[in-house]
Symmetry: D2
Subunit: 328 residues, 4 copies
């Protein structure tokens, strides 16, 4: 099911080349101020244009269909859509039998018995991250924590200058790069989350893996924790001002699935863009023969460049839900 959340629930819909993509938000706090203006900053962060992202122009104006009255959320379901424009679907039929490696072409075809919309990836399009970012804007307003996601690695490079070079080089080769995003969330109250199945890590990881192209997530010391000793990894508690907080973030701000007053810290690994200009081998599903595939059009060399705002949105969606469950 394409929905997430218990007391704040997000449902996304739409296909890349259909009439619109959108989202329904249920459980928005009545009275939350909300205008189209509020979406600008985050939608701009997601937008194409930077080096390494596709130059296709999308206007991406949010249209609010329900749930807002006189500039404030009514408390009933809030629906936002984005019309799809200039969707010349062209000759997708030719590619129908040649599943693009790394895409959902083949799995969608099997799952929905050839009835999936194949144009531009259909429901699997990165365009669906547009309503997710919009949902994140509302979620951030609801929980009012401080979200900061940034790209800390591109194609294995940590240095920004070298990242730019790496992207340019990959673009020249018709190839693509991945990256790692780190997200830090401050001002989260102690006590969010539940043991076991609704741990904060479980809910965040669930949402983050809903972003296309994620290959891994780690909290605090992450995989490195597996190489540390208990005496190194454990976070002692300290009194910082009047507040009890962990002295460091080895556990990512979470103990036993519940926020501990520290900064929430996690990192997300994004794969390199699957669509590359370089020739690839794939299977012709009709003939069973291996063929050479050339994917036309221009694509992001490194879609991870756009990912930080999407990671923030997903984190905000989860935390707004946890906040809405919270009994202070």
């Amino acid at each position: 099911m394409d929905s997430l959340g218990r007391n704040f629930r997000v449902s996304v819909f739409g296909e890349s080349h259909g009439p619109a993509v959108g989202v329904v938000l249920d459980g928005v706090r009545a009275g939350l101020p909300l205008t189209a203006e509020d979406f600008k900053t985050d939608l701009l962060r997601r937008k194409s244009g930077a080096t390494g992202t596709t130059p296709r122009i999308e206007r991406d104006l949010p249209e609010i269909l329900s749930g807002v009255f006189d500039g404030r959320a009514t408390g009933t379901p809030l629906t936002i859509i984005f019309r799809n424009e200039n969707t010349r679907s062209g000759d997708y039929a030719a590619l129908q039998d040649l599943p693009r490696p790394g895409h959902a072409d083949y799995t969608a075809r099997v799952k929905w018995k050839n009835f999936n919309d194949p144009r531009g990836g259909g429901h699997f399009s990165g365009r669906l991250t547009l309503p997710i970012v919009a949902a994140g804007v509302v979620a951030k307003k609801m929980c009012a924590y401080s979200f900061t996601a940034r790209l800390i690695e591109v194609g294995g490079c940590k240095d920004p200058d070298r990242q730019v070079e790496a992207v340019a080089a990959a673009a020249r080769e018709g190839d693509s790069l991945g990256g790692i995003v780190e997200c830090r969330i401050d001002d989260v109250p102690t006590g969010l989350g539940e043991p076991f199945f609704d741990s904060v890590e479980s809910l965040l990881a669930h949402a983050i893996f809903a972003i296309p192209g994620v290959r891994g997530i780690e909290f605090g010391d992450g995989f490195q924790a597996a190489r540390m000793k208990g005496s190194e990894h454990n976070d002692p508690f300290a009194c910082i001002g009047e507040t009890v907080k962990p002295a460091k973030d080895g556990a990512g701000g979470i103990n036993g699935g519940i926020t501990n007053g520290g900064t929430l810290v996690f990192r997300v690994a994004f794969k390199p863009t699957s669509s590359i200009a370089k020739e690839q081998r794939t299977l012709n599903l009709s003939t069973g023969a291996q063929e050479t595939l050339r994917i036309p059009g221009r694509h992001d060399t490194c879609f991870a460049l756009r990912a930080p705002v999407i990671v923030e949105a997903m984190a905000a969606i989860v935390l707004a839900d946890l906040q809405a469950r919270f009994v202070p």
Copy 2:
């Protein structure tokens, strides 16, 4: 909420020093053969006894309270409990004000306003993995895929001999080690999972982070994918016999959140055991002063040694649910 799943649902309950821990399974397939004998192998794998795990003897006999008749599942809720024995709670009160670093002592106390059961970690005890392993046994029978989880790294060592040494050395120091578990699942049908919020990765990660002490999860090439080029990471499709399969497992057997016919592959990072014999500093919550904490009793030097069967159980729980949603 301590439950997981849509068509196959698992709810765990119990505290370490309460009368019992247990699990209710809803959506078990009627007619599934099931006896107490079936649980033996997996419960034994989880059991203490190996070097690096605590020598405390637990009998851990599953008691089936409902949902089985004449050796077969009835289709109605199946409940399994494990009585807690020899739970001398002793002087836990003395530790009440000194939250153990890495444990949920402090967060549980805040969340439940001091009403949590503090004895032996209460509901946060590793003992709760016992009903989870039992649930996994039923789930494995339901989906009949091939699950193989194994420890590929202990305290940073990949070599088994060096792992044994590392554990022994850490034990001598009164310290602890973490580890990494790799899980591979074969014979999974193509088409399980859903796009975005119910992607296979989302559901697996959700369940895996419900295991105490997990710090990270990665699928296929995982974090390394962020350092690869698209031409390296993409998995071409191939015809293997009559079947379409990916030629490699860079994506972990999943495209667009949906299984692609390949082997499901993921790795899980476990932190070092939080309870260590070594002295630690912590905060006295009553006085606000830093104090030295000595945790009495014997604990696993490396609880990751017991983790593979728990990882398998969680994976099986998720896949049994996906199987139960599947329209072939």
Copy 3:
């Protein structure tokens, strides 16, 4: 939360005077043929125009935003909206302090702290039954049972001629009437539903009470069963052709919450329309004084006249979900 269903899920949104009302359907079977034409018959049945219903003209053309490609459902979320037109909200402000008896004016105001959209009842408008009927059209196609709901009583009259007279008389008095709808569903497979909390009656009643203005529901012999003896009420089983079926429908086609092969039968009581031309007394929420309220505009004298298709839609939504959970 404004959603219903486990494997087939319906979420409605919109306000009477906002841009649109709509519905997202998740879990639609891929390949289901679907065109705008399919909605005509049921939308027409719901439409105004008959004696006793308001003469306001609504065009009510469904706009499919997602989930359909080349005339067939894709299997991903299917969104249908209906634009609101000619919504002159006028002087609703004057009525803000005078809650209309029988409406949600007061409860919505309390629940959402005055942030609800008060124009035309906002999210509580009968206009929301439009997307519900649309959802019902899809649901009926999915489960392919035979749904027949009809009005069996209007203002206490069972005879159609006397019903027409009663409506005309009530209209002349500026008053309103209620009615009773009976729904019969044939060709339902044996074995749908689950014991206790997901009994067929539980799920149907849940959905039916989501229709505005419902005051009661009864299955089979209904309230009359409470006045029968066991020997009268019990339905013996019989072999009808090759099939086991109950010999009568005293239990409404359900035993132990599970369909028994008989016709599903239930009746729904609708209250008289709340908005009447007649003067009413109500409370001025600002002044605390009782005032005389005159509700302007034209309203249905008996909205139950439009209800049968809505009852069918809700029943179909529930049965499509049960069908999607069904393991034959």
Copy 4:
């Protein structure tokens, strides 16, 4: 699925002749005082013994397996079981082919492909109302409203003396009677419930139809509302002391699915007990022939006599959940 609720969730399990029946409660407020003593009154109300109920002695002592520490709820899942005793299953096999009219024997057999536990009705036994009453005790403590359910009609008689006679007469004939329970709930805050799918009526009806043997439910004026005029049925608002309340309960204390400050009022129709001593005709499922069925043992002549406390329990379960979702 045998569970109900979003923020306060109840899952029941067990079979009549299995080891135990029980319930898991998730979302109990931490700190709620709870002892075995608290269950006595309501369990006694449900117990057999009164005229018209079976004389079988059940001790029915609740055993709390988890979620309580030092006499207070911990906030983690609370499990209560009741051991089944003296369950001489006897010769149920003989009845396997002869489904008892009014029971789930046939539907359970079809649904679970003969793997259901047939002894004493298995999971469909009225014995499952025992954990439901126990859950109700916890729920009542959580929401602290005033619940009063009572039997207002038995076998069509409103007068208590004539009810006693009617039961005695039916018992002599080897037949059974039904009844109607009215439930009134006071001190409910205004604003509980949600429009459409989570209306208070939807949630209450859902839970009430989970009680075995319910044939109908109606709120406020109920089915009679369908025969009233709007000017009669509408409830004007009034200021009662400082509080806004409806002047009468025609709508059962609910407008638009949301509580309006009035008394919640609903009535529930119970069928006559299905198991009767009188001979009945039924189908032999093996031979396809009609046979005469004699149900041995002693049964409640009118199980509705025990129903009020079960109705209260279900109502309390729903309201505790709504209370736990409530943002004051």
